[in-house]
């Protein structure tokens, strides 16, 4: 192998954590980036107070 060759990556080194192979294959993210950019403006997340309350209720259950 020449010194300038691209290092070979083993299967487990390939980072595919957040990639859905079907989504990727269909190219939805690229084709509808405008729609996804708009959808990204909405970030429904539970308030800290709610998470805290839930954890307290879980502790009471045990």
């Amino acid at each position: 192998m020449a010194k300038t060759s691209t290092p070979f990556l083993s299967y487990h080194e390939i980072q595919v954590g957040n990639i859905d192979i079907y989504d990727d294959a269909f190219g939805l993210s690229q084709e509808f980036s405008d729609v996804f950019n708009l959808l990204d403006q909405l970030k429904p997340v539970p308030k800290k107070r709610l998470t805290k309350l839930l954890i307290e209720r879980v502790r009471q259950m045990n």
Partner: protein
């Protein structure tokens, strides 16, 4: 490097008495579950109740030995959330109470950015309201896939399992949903007016 425990490992430890393991599961999955519920239920207080009920039901089921690991913990949790939402709508239908559309409360926690002026915040809120409307106007099957994929971050494989359809059908629904939303964006002239 510290190894991250799988969902099942956390469940096993929780069943054996390690309380903190379930808390880790809550932290790991809370946003996915909350996003799913809050995009269906417009009443914030009710969405918060269902969010808590989902995790409490998960605990009951886990303790009764109703969860068997197949690497799909989050899919199972989402199915529980889905059933609780369906139960809620059934109750509402039976009681013939007011529609959820009557609620105008803003469900989404807007980030309080110090450098945002009032006008920016108003525009942001309007855009969020528009997005909500876009999603609500989609046919049920398309809406579900958009929420599960984009807001709950599930894979198409997981979505196919939860909704009892093939992966191709789930992908097709997503595609139609995106086409429909783009069309509505054009018709209603909805676009991002800030960065």
């Amino acid at each position: 490097m510290k190894k991250t425990m799988t969902d099942y490992e956390l469940i096993e430890k929780f069943v054996k008495g390690e309380q903190s393991c379930f808390e880790e599961l809550i932290r790991r999955h809370k946003s996915k579950v909350f996003a799913y519920i809050s995009l269906y239920i417009r009443d914030q207080a009710l969405a918060e109740d269902l969010f808590q009920d989902t995790f409490l039901k998960v605990i009951q089921s886990v303790k009764c030995g109703k969860y068997y690991d197949n690497g799909k913990f989050i899919s199972w949790v989402m199915r529980i959330a889905h059933n609780l939402i369906i139960d809620h709508f059934r109750r509402v239908k039976q009681l013939n109470t007011v529609s959820n559309d009557d609620y105008e409360s803003d469900l989404f926690n807007s980030r309080k950015l110090a450098d945002e002026n009032v006008e920016d915040q108003m525009i942001k809120r309007q855009i969020q309201k528009d997005i909500r409307k876009l999603i609500s106007e989609l046919p049920d099957d398309q809406r579900e896939v958009v929420i599960l994929r984009h807001y709950s971050g599930l894979s198409f494989k997981e979505i196919a399992e939860i909704t009892d359809v093939s992966i191709n059908t789930a992908l097709g629904r997503m595609r139609y949903a995106l086409i429909n939303m783009r069309k509505m964006m054009e018709e209603k002239k909805i676009s991002l007016t800030f960065n």
